[in-house]
Symmetry: C3
Subunit: 443 residues, 3 copies
């Protein structure tokens, strides 16, 4: 078949969206590394498994139902109603690329919301109810918010809210959902003292966390520019630059502020500063000038430094800083569009209409994320329990929930005690013995 | 030069294939991390070096000879005969992209076969003979199978076998080659007891293995959709979705089954479940519907759970599960095309012809991979020996084969004994002393 | 808007450049992992933070000033003079893609130069003055050299120097800058003995270093082919193949040479061999034949083996081998163009003119990189000091410069002493206590 201008254009856009989707998918690997590095080693495998299951369970949930609720035929601006299992008509989306390509890109966004929550509830939440939440998040919570903001008849979209790649629809939603989850779940055992003071629980592998941050930054080059859904839209170049500059200024400000104030540049603050910059530019990357992106990122970097101790004071125990990075910076980024958008921003003579819409929109989305998650966590808590026992928390979730340790030191000196014999056919026994063995070690 | 429709179309396809090739290349990094994480730390560097050398030695082998045997002018449907060193005429390939782009994509596939075997023979195979096998695999074993399946006159291709991106030509081939290698090599010292029971040898770094799985999943977005060799072929979108869904259902099923049966979701099973799903959809990703992809991946996830203990019972010691992930799931995936292909599959009213061809084809490819590898390993065993000494196996291959430890703990407490002095010019002495030093530590 | 041939062509080129820029960005993650793995654990987080700050501070520097000095309107072939903050006219660049896309790709190159130096000064250089150097490198040192080589009126460009993707402008520059930095800074405490012998300071995590090498190799598929700035230029395929083959032969030669000479294939030599191959083909990838690329990479692999001990003899203490990989191999690769370029190379009957230009050009760029860095480091040394105290060097830079350890072992046995209580609002106190706690541990 001879190529035509149109077929080449569609091919280009499809290639662009698919490759960007792959980059966004890799962000899950970045989240896994980041969160694992920032928690204690005995819970590190558990958090990775939760992220891995977001990809597994979450993709299935978004395929079967989530996408339909988000992008199906609109009902009252609230929710989509068609397109379950990717079946049916999607002509109302006016896509010029295959719906499959659109789905894959959107699906990689959907699973990010649950993953944001996973970090905040790390080190104490049971695995099985987490899977349930991950499913609910990709099937209902995110799709509904997404419909509001990005559905062609979504009510926030109709109001004129601007959220290019999801500072509100993905990050504020996830961040404030994380706060709700943490409030229902409670802090880690031993985290807070009666006098209000906080015990440090340092991450076990900051290099791994940093590697995760590099992967996230890399993936964001798909997340934001890919949201054009078109490689023909040359705005992708400016979007990529804005994304990059906000990350750079967020990282710089957070590092320099800690260096200036404490004489030491704090690695996890610097990392979260860059991530905060990325989150905050996600709404406005297509609408603002590069200098504004620099400024927005810098503010996000400062917010990290200010807000992390604040949530500790509120006894909202968030081991990886997800509430601040995604909730605070996502909210700020959405509002910032109302100030910095070249077209409609208050600082560009656009008046305060857009700013008001942005404020209202991000509040609505955040409230929804918070309330829905609060409800789901409360029900799960009442029905099946969401928290591991204190004994298991001390033991670590890697052993208690998965029966294996993240790291097994088989380095020198060589183990003196042979591993227990087992019948390979009796897989259950193998697990049981491994656990007994671990319990033995603990005594 | 003014662009024309044709030049833009060719440019798009070239860009697509090159970027997909890069993604497939990164799968080697994924394999390295996965395999390293699943073996004991004292052998982890060795396995990474083997994968690294697949990329080094293997690319050279595929450049000088392998590509010619695979895609050169056909001889009797068995093997290619022209195009050594990428010289000569390739017009019989009817490529619309530069042969260099085609080569790079194919080369990244070729080295995967040796890498699959590397995992199965981990923790006991000598480094030098492995290099020889890696070369033979990329020069002969894979190219011959590839010619059968994908060569325009390849005999299995002529029969009508469908193997879109290589469940048979890459994964079954590699998986059953791994079985042959393991049978010649024998199990790890201390793995099996006389009564048939199995000793657990836990992987030393499951977070690293999981990171590898994320990289592999990411790379598969190049592996499968890239096999269209064209970004103009909009089927790439459905292929990417099918790939993703099979991974998701494989991971879900493996995790949920272990959770249900043992009360704990097993991380390495979940990871291998997702990888099994990816392997099994590789043949059919372009031919089946998304719901079928979900189902195929789910079956693969179940196969992982069932087959891993089975091979232990057969005393085929495979530290990373490569035989099951690639051999069993690759074979299943190839056969599944005969059932689920929209065009010709038995479940779609296509009768049993295609199913028969798929069964026959995957059997032929697997038998070739098994036999050729069995022969090469037997010759290597007889001539130079393939197995490290039992002493070296206990010491670990990192020290015995490479003279360095993967991890050197220079963390607190600080080392009391200064490192041995050496003359930097006398590099050999430096190595010798380092080894003596290590031997000292072991006493 | 209906697509036209031109709009599709521009879109394709923009997509290509942006995705390649993302790949080049990921090389920073690769550098971070590589360098961290090759140093001792107590300094591993510090080196990662330095690379992370290259991305943060460096991008801002290149945005505000560096790009203008490199690609602004020419002044006497020496330096650019317009385009600060990406404002103003760039029509003299004759770009067919948005200047933003061009900037992002160039920016990812710019930060690589500082990162190359970071590895060589690892384990002893203060964090704050490093930030200053990183800024100077991206604002002045690299842009000036880049203007000479790639500016349309750059004086080396006018001479006919060929440096396709920067063996000279990036790697020689960075490598010889690293040598200057090391000479001003001095070797690590305890590295050299009075009799000239060298004490081994093994890298703490070679698997991490290897993972970094895979990421770098992957990123190079953006670095070299992306330098066409066009996906319509089908030479991208040959460039990618040449890049790959040089890496493969560099890795092979370094591994096989160490295997042959010492009976053990040295991992860090093999890794640096492949990286040396990549560096050395970077200048000529667009100009030479694949067989030449294989040869160039092989020579680079050999150079690694020969030159690493040489610099030890010169007491230039380079923990990661950056001087050899980037300086020596970059210089060799630039010169090799004069021999192997199909158009103008001495071995292709082009006489010695090009060879002379290449020799002269790489000498000029290297001398600039060395001198400028020597000057900046000398000033920093005199004004603020560039070296941590010997006490801090023993303690490790992770604690002394960042107040946290890279790895915190919270694995079994569980910590007996509870973490110190602190007031979360008093962030400064928290840091102070953490440090005191660490000091306690050290006693």
């Amino acid at each position: 078949m001879e190529p035509t201008i149109n077929s080449v254009a569609v091919g280009l856009d499809t290639v662009w969206v698919l490759l960007c989707a792959a980059l966004v998918f890799l962000m899950e690997g970045g989240f896994a590394a980041l969160e694992a590095g920032l928690v204690r080693s005995r819970n590190s495998l558990n958090i990775i498994m939760k992220v891995f299951m977001d990809c597994s369970v979450g993709f299935i949930g978004y395929f079967t139902m989530g996408f339909a609720l988000m992008y199906g035929a609109d009902f009252s601006g609230i929710v989509g109603t068609t397109g379950f299992l990717l079946q049916g008509d999607f002509s109302h989306l006016n896509l010029h690329i295959p719906v499959y390509a659109f789905w894959l890109f959107q699906a990689a966004f959907a699973i990010a919301v649950a993953t944001i929550v996973s970090g905040a509830v790390a080190e104490r939440m049971k695995f099985a109810p987490y899977l349930v939440y991950s499913l609910v998040a990709t099937v209902v919570i995110y799709p509904v918010a997404g419909h509001w903001v990005w559905g062609s008849n979504g009510w926030l979209n109709q109001l004129g809210m601007l959220d290019f790649a999801g500072s509100a629809a993905v990050h504020s939603l996830g961040g404030w959902a994380a706060l709700a989850a943490v409030l229902v779940l409670g802090p880690r055992s031993g985290r807070f003292n009666k006098d209000g003071s906080v015990n440090i629980m340092p991450g076990h592998n900051i290099p791994l966390a940093a590697l995760g941050a590099f992967l996230l930054w890399f993936g964001w080059f798909g997340f934001n520019p890919g949201s054009t859904l078109s490689g023909l839209d040359l705005n992708i170049a400016k979007i990529a630059v804005n994304t990059n500059l906000a990350a750079a200024s967020g990282g710089t400000i957070a590092a320099v502020l800690t260096l200036w104030r404490y004489g030491k540049a704090d690695p996890s603050m610097a990392i979260n500063g860059a991530l905060g910059g990325l989150v905050s530019i996600t709404a406005g990357c297509a609408y603002v000038e590069p200098l504004s992106a620099l400024f927005i990122g810098a503010v996000a970097g400062g917010l990290i430094i200010v807000a992390v101790p604040l949530f500790d004071k509120l006894r909202a125990d968030d081991p990886v800083g997800a509430i601040v990075v995604h909730g605070v910076c996502g909210t700020f980024g959405t509002i910032a569009v109302g100030l910095f958008a070249v077209d409609g921003g208050a600082l560009y003579g656009g008046g305060f209409h857009l700013l008001g819409v942005q404020l209202f929109g991000v509040a609505a989305v955040s409230l929804w994320g918070f309330s829905a998650t609060y409800a789901v966590f409360s029900v799960l808590k009442a029905v099946v329990g969401i928290r591991v026992s204190e004994e298991d928390e001390i033991l670590g979730l890697d052993i208690s929930e998965h029966g294996v340790a993240a790291y097994t030191n088989t380095e020198y000196p060589l183990p003196q005690v042979p591993f227990p014999a087992m019948d390979s056919g009796e897989y259950g026994i193998f697990r049981q013995m491994q656990n007994e063995d671990t319990a033995q070690i603990l005594k």
